[in-house]
């Protein structure tokens, strides 16, 4: 089994631009999708993120600690949320990404982890 990060770009983040009804449908679709991931035993973790302007960057790698208000990358598209899934191979991960992309109305980047994290004992 391999673990993958499925990160959402331009979906949740642009949710502010959605009308409330569309947003409700999206949240409902994502919940249905999440449930199917749990049912399939592929679930490790997932969550949505608060908007990127709430982020803070800390850099202590060059000696002094520098704290900056705002996201690391100056870009319009930030990660809006992510799933971590545990599946057989990339084909399985891509198949989940297709469904996730439809549910969250955004592009999904699939990226493998270096090693597998232990799956949580409790799927909350």
């Amino acid at each position: 089994m391999s673990q993958y990060l499925l990160s959402v770009h331009g979906g949740h983040e642009s949710a502010a631009a959605m009308d409330p009804e569309t947003m409700q449908t999206m949240f409902a679709d994502v919940e249905v999708f999440n449930e199917s991931v749990r049912q399939a035993g592929a679930w490790v973790y997932a969550n949505g993120l608060m908007p990127a302007e709430t982020a803070t960057v800390v850099d202590a790698s060059k000696g002094d600690t520098v704290i900056t208000d705002g996201p690391y990358l100056e870009t319009k598209e930030h990660i809006g949320g992510f799933w971590i899934i545990d599946v057989a191979d990339l084909d399985a991960a891509l198949a989940w990404a297709v469904k996730g992309s439809v549910a969250c109305r955004g592009a999904v980047e699939v990226r493998p982890f270096q090693s597998d994290a232990p799956a949580p004992t409790e799927t909350t």
Binding site: S2, D89, L90, D91, A93, V110, P112
Partner: protein, 412 residues
């Protein structure tokens, strides 16, 4: 029974057997680098041994067995205890045998689907397919596509890293995903063929080695997936196109257009093979873009001359193709048939709306139609545009001659 074995015959065996051995070793060891190194070592060994001992009864099997032993030696020599444990698990003959999930259980078919995995960029798919299944050196691939050797080498290294990091599976896609996954495989093979048939740059119009390799891969795919009509269609398309190869360039190395070709030079064996595949496709009646393009080429290969071509049939096939694949290049080719049936003015009107401004064949087609309509000055300008857009030297000379012809006619 030591038959003479020289470097040429070892080279031939290398071409024929490399892909098969690599594919089998990748399945056994789950690692492309180990497989490549071991197969190369086995061929080095063969080059030393065979000239003295003669060819073994089954050279391909000899290579695969020798390579497997080399790989096992290497893994035992170099691995830590943990790695040894993991590798031993793989090597254990009690290990579950490969489970056939697709129509045919062949390691090369697995490998081509891995090489053409949609998570890899098209240029990477092409390089990886030629490297692993075709056994081409990175230098040869670089030369064929006019990019630097380091670019190709990097592309292949990155692809292997991506396959490993992502756990890209080594298997034939299951039936429900097969149609989608077959598409990039066909595209890669056809790209290799087209790059060989009309090189994008350089001194020669044609690179026969790439055409030969693409047809070889097409045949392999046809054998491995006999029930895929589009795989057969692609093979027929390549065979029928390649049949005109001897007539496409004259003795001086200049391009000869389809209408002006000496049709007695066409390769009858390739035509017969291609046409019989097209007939089988018609009986099967599951048309797709490659089969239809093959059928169009079959119509041309039936005609004793350009004038005697069944243009009505060609046009009907293009109409069918456009319904499946509405792409402007198809519409451009359709316009050529339209010109024969309804006149150059009708065809020109159809071409002008296509917006293929960066494609040299678009301007060349316009130019030919303008010439027929007696608009020589406009034709010269269109040939100029075509000339500016290609780096292939025979094509450039062809357009230069056409410009001179148009200018002369304009002055009369």
């Amino acid at each position: 029974m030591s038959e003479s074995v020289d470097i040429v015959s070892i080279g031939r065996i290398f071409r024929e057997e490399y892909g098969r051995s690599i594919a089998t070793l990748i399945r056994t060891f789950g690692d492309i680098d180990i497989a490549e190194e071991a197969v190369q070592e086995a061929f080095v060994e063969a080059a030393k041994r065979w000239p003295k001992s003669g060819l073994p009864p089954n050279p391909g099997a000899w290579i695969t067995t020798t390579a497997r032993n080399r790989a096992i030696d290497r893994i035992r020599r170099e691995s830590t205890r943990h790695d040894r444990y993991v590798a031993a698990a793989r090597l254990d003959p009690g290990d579950e045998p490969p489970v056939p999930v697709g129509p045919v259980n062949d390691d090369r078919l697995r490998l081509i689907f891995t090489c053409c995995h949609p998570a890899l960029a098209t240029a990477t798919q092409v390089a990886l397919t030629l490297r692993l299944l075709g056994g081409l050196e990175t230098g040869e691939i670089a030369q064929a596509f006019l990019v630097s050797e380091s670019t190709i080498a990097q592309r292949i290294v990155r692809a292997k890293a991506k396959i490993t990091a992502n756990n890209i599976p080594y298997r034939i896609p299951s039936d429900h995903e097969l149609l989608d996954r077959l598409k990039p495989v066909l595209i890669v093979i056809y790209l290799i063929f087209n790059e060989g048939y009309t090189a994008t740059g350089g001194t020669d119009l044609v690179r026969d080695d790439l055409c030969t390799e693409a047809i070889r891969l097409g045949r392999l795919l046809g054998q491995l997936m006999p029930d895929e009509p589009e795989a057969a269609g692609l093979l027929a398309l390549m065979l029928l196109t390649a049949s005109r190869r001897p007539a496409r360039v004259d003795a001086a190395g200049e391009i000869v257009l389809l209408a002006d070709q000496d049709r007695s030079l066409w390769d009858r064996a390739l035509i017969d093979e291609g046409q019989s595949i097209v007939r089988a496709s018609l009986r099967r009646n599951q048309p797709g873009p490659y089969q239809i393009q093959a059928a169009i080429n079959a119509v041309h290969s039936d005609a004793p001359s350009a004038a005697e071509t069944e243009w009505g049939q060609v046009l009907a096939l293009y109409d069918m193709l456009i319904r499946i694949d509405a792409n402007p290049v198809v519409a451009l080719n359709r316009a050529v048939a339209l010109a024969e049936l309804d006149g150059a003015d009708v065809a020109l009107a159809a071409v002008d709306v296509l917006g293929l401004d960066v494609y040299h064949v678009f301007h060349a087609t316009r130019a030919e139609l303008l010439m027929r309509l007696g608009r020589a000055a406009d034709a010269a300008a269109a040939f100029e545009r075509a000339l500016a857009l290609t780096a292939n030297e025979p094509e450039r000379r062809f357009y230069a001659t056409a410009i001179a012809r148009a200018v002369t006619r304009d002055r009369r």
